[in-house]
Amino acid sequence: MNMESSFKVHQTKSGSDSLVRLSGHIDENADYTKISLTGIISITFDMEGISLINSSGLQRWISFIESIPENIKIYLSRCSTRVVNQVNLFPGFLGGKDIGIISFAAPYYCQNCDCAVNVIVETLTDFKNMDAITPPQRRCEKCHGKLDFDGLPKKYFLFLNRKKQPAA
């Protein structure tokens, strides 16, 4: 390995469910060997801390996802905008599996405060009508004014059109 990886894994278990917090760069040095899949039936990856995904990282991530046994249900939560962009660009990011995306960051802008903010939205509750996907309404935490979605909805929510909602 050519340098110390910025990629970090923090895994916790609750019965047969596992939560894995990933952070740093999903790149050529990302190492998933520390993740234990023993005795679990579901695994949720918290992706909020992912700051970069490059093409080599993508290759390694897909190999890892594919290696997870079929009897383990996979979820992604709090996907950063970097992760959403990659899922949109590369459908293979999900390893060809029915991975539930529980929640993800969406870009908004507050006109009053004149600042951009990423807001976590929930797939199940914020996108009930998957036939007409529109950005959920949100308010600014500082001024409580209405936030504007700061992107192209058709492009940003593309992955929702490809997927079913995660099971409740």
């Binding site: 050529e28 970069l52 490059n54 080599s56 897909i62 962009n85 951009a116």
Partner: protein, 320 residues
């Protein structure tokens, strides 16, 4: 603004109601444009045949009804800059279908006049190649040499910090760092070749392996920003990249499917596709056997939507 001795002919084929006419009217001193209707395409062909320096800007939507004429135009004038109103995937389709197109701008949203003008200049003036012309009034710019692959980690850290100074948009530094990571990886692993066999030296090496580049193999990284754009340029000394290879690679990725991210090779073959999607402009400069410089331009804005609506463009410049 072009100097008097840099004047060239710019023929713009467009419909009467085209927004581009407005753009030209807003930049009369920069673009010495002769706006003509598409019904006059044959006269443009005649002019271009007579004047080797003519540059034509062609709205792509005219291809459908004037395909024969415009294809002929492109054949006699490889400097044509084609404008379209499509997304980046469709742009890649267009470049795949028409291999005579070297310059394509998608202007669905807003168009950066400086970068269109620079592209036009570069088609007729080799001295405008390189990193520096991209930044109209640089606020910060760096140049460094990459001699071993471990350098990459520290360089990316510096680029992230520079991008954070350039924009208040929190996602932008990560986006720019991703672009830099891909361009560096491509240059280090794909460019260097054996001087005798001409075979690539490192293409089959794992991407997490240390690579020490030889003196002739060093990579040059330049990056910086001005008021409007962040620019990253990565150059090698080999000039092995071709338009055909780039477009073939991008086209495979656009098709999606199982082969979108290669699994059987050490490289994923998806880096340039990522860059083409993240950057507003991807320019490839090729001096065969001597130099390849890949430049990515990202428009700076306070809002994500403005970056999304900025033009997307892919250009190929070849020496000789």
């Amino acid at each position: 603004v072009l100097a008097e001795n840099q004047k060239y002919h710019l023929h713009v084929l467009m419909d009467d109601d085209d927004d581009f006419k407005q753009f030209l009217q807003n930049h009369p001193s920069e673009l010495f444009a002769q706006v003509i209707g598409h019904q006059d395409v044959n006269s443009v062909i005649k002019t271009a045949e007579q004047d080797g320096t003519a540059v034509c800007v062609v709205p792509y939507h005219l291809f459908s009804n004037r395909a024969g004429s415009l294809e002929k135009l492109l054949h006699i004038n490889s400097r044509a800059v084609v404008l379209s109103r499509e997304d980046i995937s469709k742009a890649i389709d267009i470049l795949y279908e028409f291999d005579q197109i070297r310059h394509l701008f998608n202007i669905g949203g807003c168009l950066c006049a400086h970068h269109l003008l620079l592209t036009l200049e570069k088609t007729v003036d080799r001295s405008r190649w390189g990193f520096h012309p991209y930044l109209a009034s640089p606020k910060e710019q760096r140049c460094c040499e990459v001699t071993s692959y471990p350098d990459q980690g520290l360089l990316l850290h510096d680029i992230t910090a520079c991008a954070a100074r350039a924009s208040t948009l929190s996602d932008l530094p990560h986006l720019i760092t991703t672009i830099a990571s891909e361009l560096l990886m491509n240059a280090v692993f794909n460019a260097p070749c054996d001087p005798v066999t001409q075979e690539p030296r490192y293409v089959d090496r794992p991407r997490n392996e240390t690579i020490h580049l030889g003196p002739a193999e060093k990579i040059t990284l330049q990056y910086g920003y001005d008021e409007k754009s962040f620019v990253i340029a990565v150059s090698d000394n080999f000039g092995r990249l071709t338009r055909k290879d780039v477009i073939k690679n991008l086209y495979r990725c656009v098709q999606g499917g199982d082969n979108q991210i290669r699994r059987e090779t050490k490289g994923a073959g998806a880096g340039l596709f990522m860059v083409a999607n993240l950057a507003n402009q991807l320019d490839v400069h090729i001096d065969p056997g001597r130099m390849t410089q890949v430049v990515a331009v990202v428009h700076l804005s306070k809002k994500q939507i403005n970056y999304e609506l900025g033009h997307t463009s892919i250009n190929f410049f070849k020496a000789g």
